[in-house]
Symmetry: D2
């Protein structure tokens, strides 16, 4: 099947899915005043695939000779991973730094499930690999949009899934029937699920035997009976392009995704009680997804650096030492984040023919990005000046008598009038001092796992043992062989 | 005259002042749907003064035996400064961390003008000190609300006031008449000026002789002919107390303050062409005001720490090592900021009977606060979790069918239901991941002068010379006597 | 008895004490080629007390009307604590930043023992307070030098004292006799004990009931039978004043202090099995001592800043923006550390008539100092240039033919010859890039407790509960009442 | 010619070169008690080349079919650069983290000279490329050891070379003769020059026309008449392997290299007055050399991490949260530094057939390493404990009676006696709290250019313009076209 057009994609979302927004059922997510904005934003992903015919960055040939979206291309080498990174960067850059996330994350989950299923099948005689392969071809050949629901609602964070007072705090097996598996429970902040054709579900953490019912992975169409998505209204407050050049037009849509005795046909069940595999699946998915995250963060950092350089220029301060210092820091931040992504791809290892980005370097990249984001925000705010939060808004600007005042008072250096200056200042406010700015800060820290997780993931036994031996040799002692225990 | 009541204060704002909001003239700032919120917020300052009769924290006796607001008490000692700090902390804490700023900043300016005028009068034979004293008594005895307009619109930041293409980019002397001084120009982000009785104007920077016309300081009533205040609509977007417990009720109002040939009677003119005094006045005011700023920042830091501890508690994680680490960092941030404020007061020096907080320590305090704010935000966001930007909003919560879902899915540890958890999460979002959060970040950096200024202000010749001598003695060399040049 | 002279002090060290250095018994620590350097350095403390007769900074009147060293003055108020800080700063500054530590630390321990003993006597009917008072008067009236041995050898750090394979890893009670208590065990890094008249011993940590034998505190004369001090040779490598202007002349001497069945007369036993008081005594001593530490750190920071400013001056770079930035950072570091010390004194609370510095602020000060030290070192090294580790040494300099080369090649800006430049560079190397520099870095982190301890000590239940209430009120919820658990 | 043996290399150093050490002429650097240590250390480079016959990491085939050291292999691709990095890492790791630096830096300079000469020849019709090629083959075919002298003595840093009071502060052209160029002047901290066969000289900075005499590049044999090397005695103080396991055996030797009317034959002159090329040559060399530096830093970071993990293990603390946190930080530091090196190689561009590592990424790598070094030191010191600076030394340890004490008191966790613990602690002290530790800190900051230079080098016009366009498009404005000015 050829690549779908943006229109075909949008049409496919009108399928009777149960979406709730501000307490009301949404009939059509593509025409809804708020959610429709998101739907058309993510449709860009389909539009771009047709934008440059013959460009193999966006589409390649599937085994059947038909074009397929490059997202579905299974990476076999470092070069493939670098190309996948280029794809995600390109699309996100075109999308003004807002990653569509309707194919990136889904394929991350598919690749992870392939790897874990292969191992599980070999060890436990299960037959998941074939099912996943079939489901992957189903998505690929129909050019489907996919969301991934991983984070459970969780409840008491100091207790395991099976210990929760509220049994639905984690998605779980209710019972098995001839037709399939019945599941139930709540997943929190699932991104862009309301615009997906398929919802892929993976566990959020390692499980013990007592948690076996919670060790489930599967996929269901977005219009499955019993599936409700409560879309968050966060991020749809902005309406003026002058005031909020980004958040009035772009954004990611988060939802609480509720499974209320949803039937999953067996060929779509990819884990069902094999609790030992829950942790590896959660981790393998997250590793692929962190590499994706590092890839889609660079366009945001480019925008921050660009906006900072632009306003410094408008203020006539590009040559000032402390301005150059801040621009250099922002450049280092961008270069280092991107460079570590490159290194993660270059250091990939093959598992069953799939190239997996280097775990330590992917985490180093994600951690470096997340740890430094607030400092970058501070530098951009610092460069932009106080007007970022006190400047006039569109309604002021559109009043002739008032605008005249602003034009006199708020111009920049010679040749820069008040309007471009205010537009850049508003871009900066939208990026770093607004509801959107807050969302981006929280995303930097929490998306793809917390700072703590990323930091500790780099501690790998084998590497620690290797360097201990180097130190022991230098000290002239025998090396001990204790291990870093993983929690 | 006794202390005014909140009602008397509000009544005094209905004086025909020219306030523009979203392009329209506001008839009554106290009843306006948005600005009225601010008016009633700052009125708290008057309400508190009556709340605890006999409490000398809020009111003391004036020389005439009448009670006066303690803000007007001229500090003569470290103890007075510490007491002034306690006052500002108390009021700001009661005001949910939003300093009213209708007496704090005005008295900062009055104290600074007293000191600079005293020196100027002695050196140049001017007679400003008496005028300022009379104006101070006028404000004190009528219990007036005051705003300070300092930052000029500026235009090209690489050029001096007199070199600007737009002559009104800085407020300046137009001409002198028998009745007074005619002034013109634009001041940016003047806080709460629309709720003040008096607008005090001070220069924003040092001036050269060519800039003499820009070396002006004065005070005018808020309803002066030719004075227009364009209030910023930033910060009035929030309306739901559930969604935005703070920004739906509290906030500071910034305005662009425009002087269009305003006549200032001579007894209200405090600087007029004496360009050498412009820099000292700008700096002395800022020093007093940085001490005020450090004082009103601690309630915000208390709220950040409190909210972080509360959500950690709700999640059952108070004992986790990495949570304790973050709470400890937030506590250190609060304690260090406040401690440096204490040290600045203790290190005060007397100038003409007025206690001036230690410059290096005040700047160290303000810099430490400003430099660390984004790190604190990161820690709070980190502790709170991703739900901060993806959780349900009031309209979801108020729909019974949907609320039931949330109650099951979003409860915290045992004993903590979804509602209190969401309310605390919303408090956190409001503080650190919202339009308000962005405003607070920018304020941390830009209010009371930029990070660069604060950092470099601590470099003082005498101190550098002192420590160079210590080092020279330790090295066994003669000390050289070069100076750090001040830019 | 009047204040002792430096000579009387030195004479008192020739008492037959058992000191081992580089494997050999030292007959006289005052004339030993290495240790003698230390002995004469600490004697400065006595010399200074006589240097400015009538100056009450160094000596005050004891109750008996005789002069006593101010170190012994029990602080009753914030003012007393500030004065004690001034004393420690003054002496350390005179001592080129090397605190003598033969009265500061001893009085810290005495004050802590007075407080803990008072409480213990009231609660448990013991009679320690009187003994401590008598011992305090003994030290004060004889103007004695005191060392404090706290840190035990420890062994396996994951086990409690009573669980150690090696019973002497912690100092402990062996048995009680009519004459006194017999003690045994090893204390690590006791500073300047080899130059003390009295060795005070306090526990290093909280104890459980099983550890009761390890809950001991006492004092013994330095020449007690069974007491051996193995002095560390670290820090005595430097001999050229040109190459190492500081470490060739000054330094602290650390020792391993070994108690081999030492008899402690009962009137010198201050804790003996009351295990519940071990933790409070350890902590109270450390709190006093951290305040001392903050006081003696500022002269070191003055020296770092002074040396950095001096070399920047010699290189003609005082006006360069990035140099000013670094000098400003070093100044902020000094001012903030000192300011927090001031605030800790100002926030003191009275316990049984003794002013105890504010715990949170003392720890904030110590933590801020320790956390920032390596950054300051980096800035100083950065300012000084690579010559710090590649420059010529005294033997090169003293060779006429070679010196001529250096004089031509290594001069600074106009007017600064190679010699003063090299001397300042050598001062910097000695401070921040040498054995001494390494010692100072480790001291910053480990002396007076680790960074972790300091950070977590600021977390105080009452304060956390207070700010949680503020946040709960702002969020509109009831506050929960969980506690931060102390480990 | 085949690869030289270590013995052949050492023999070649006995050539009458003029080396001064501690004011005395050194007859034979290979047998000198101090310098001999360095000579035998760097000889390792030759030994390793023979250690694994057939291993193409160390030696490859030259065009003439003879084996040549891989250092001389001109990199044509990213893969070649990664392989060169692997070589430098391997040798440095074998050398206990002390890079030999007798071929790495020389080939860095040769590659840079090839590139700059090629451009210069094309632009100015000079004929340097052929000379450099011939000299390169001379070094390669004879397997020579090379040092590079770049940093001039400098004098007043605010003045250009031609403005110095002391004309020899920068190496310069004295006059030209038929036989060659006569040069004069002083180069500071030239590493391992006393062990080189050839001394390569490149300019240290950009030159103006007035500085044309200072725009010189050339190579001379180490035994050239008029050439004197004053070797620094820094770093030769340590003699006990127990106390200083590294610095008693390994080290880099810095020298002041003095040219006193040295005649350089014309075929060895590579720049002579073409002042415009001085800056490009200085920068191109430094870029190659920063890539080398990043490569030789990772073994040091491995050693730091390994020593930290080892001592944490010995203390039984590998599972403690705050220990894991520090080990994770050290791992991130290592991984990020190395990863950025990888990315710099992957991003290489070809210039005249030579692969040049990506400038921004090389600088990001070097900056990240240098900026974080002191934090890593702090973490290692923190993990190791205070004993690092107070523990016993070899002379104590070798005294039976004393050793018995230490064995009881200083053992680690079960199974770890005092001796291995002390050896690891001594390794740590040697690395991070000693003369060597100070040298390594200063090296991190100053070698290969200062932090300031590295930071600002990443600011590249084209990239800034590119991201400004992205921001302008997002803001809806036309982009301005100002440039970041390079200083």
């Amino acid at each position: 099947m050829p690549l779908r057009s943006a229109e075909e994609f949008l049409a496919s979302l009108r399928d009777g899915r149960r979406v709730v927004y501000r307490g009301e059922r949404v009939e059509d997510v593509t025409t809804h005043p708020h959610l429709g904005r998101g739907a058309h934003h993510v449709a860009l992903d389909f539009r771009l695939a047709h934008a440059r015919p013959g460009d193999d960055l966006l589409a390649v040939l599937a085994p059947d000779g038909e074009p397929m979206s490059r997202y579905f291309a299974i990476p076999h080498s470092s070069t493939d991973l670098l190309r996948r990174r280029d794809l995600i960067e390109h699309v996100t850059r075109e999308a003004r730094s807002f990653v569509p996330l309707i194919k990136e994350i889904g394929t991350d989950a598919l690749f992870a499930m392939m790897i874990v299923a292969g191992r599980l099948d070999r060890e436990a005689g299960t037959g998941y690999a074939k099912r996943i392969r079939a489901f992957y071809e189903h998505c690929r050949d129909r050019d489907l949009a996919m969301a991934v629901a991983q984070t459970d609602a969780k409840g008491d964070r100091a207790r395991r899934p099976s210990e929760q007072a509220e049994p639905d705090a984690y998605v779980h097996r209710v019972r098995e029937t001839r037709d399939g598996l019945i599941v139930r429970g709540v997943k929190a902040h699932t991104t862009n699920a309301v615009f997906a054709n398929e919802i892929l579900v993976v566990p959020t953490r390692a499980m013990s035997e007592a948690d076996a019912d919670y060790a489930v992975a599967f996929a269901v169409p977005a219009d499955s009976p019993g599936l409700t998505m409560v879309a968050s209204a966060r991020g749809f407050g902005a309406t003026s392009v002058f005031d909020n050049p980004l958040s009035s037009r772009y954004g990611l849509t988060e939802s609480l995704t509720i499974f209320d005795d949803v039937l999953v046909p067996w060929e779509r069940v990819f884990l069902c009680g094999e609790w030992r595999a829950a942790g590896p699946l959660a981790r393998t998915f997250v590793e692929f997804h962190r590499f994706t995250a590092v890839s889609y963060k660079t366009p945001l950092l480019e925008l921050l650096l660009g906006a900072a350089a632009l306003i410094a220029d408008y203020h006539g301060l590009l040559a000032a030492a402390h301005i150059r210092e801040k621009l250099a820091r922002l450049t280092l931040y961008l270069q280092t984040t991107r460079g570590l992504g490159t290194a993660a791809a270059v250091g990939a290892r093959q598992v069953d023919g799939i190239a997996v980005p280097d775990v330590a370097l992917t985490n180093a990249a994600k951690y470096y990005f997340a740890q430094g984001y607030h400092d970058a925000v501070r530098d951009v705010q610092d460069l932009a000046g106080g007007l970022v939060v006190t400047g006039p808004m569109e309604e002021d600007w559109d009043t002739p008598g008032v605008r005249r005042l602003f034009e006199r008072a708020l111009a920049g250096r010679q040749g820069i009038g008040a309007e471009p200056r205010l537009r850049v200042i508003n871009l900066i406010r939208d990026l770093v001092a607004s509801d959107l700015g807050g969302y981006l800060e929280v995303l930097a820290i929490h998306a793809e796992g917390s700072l703590e997780t990323q930091k500790l993931t780099v501690l790998q036994d084998a590497e620690i043992e290797r360097v201990k031996r180097l130190a022991a040799a230098a000290a002239g002692v025998e090396v001990a062989s204790s291990k870093i225990e993983r929690v």
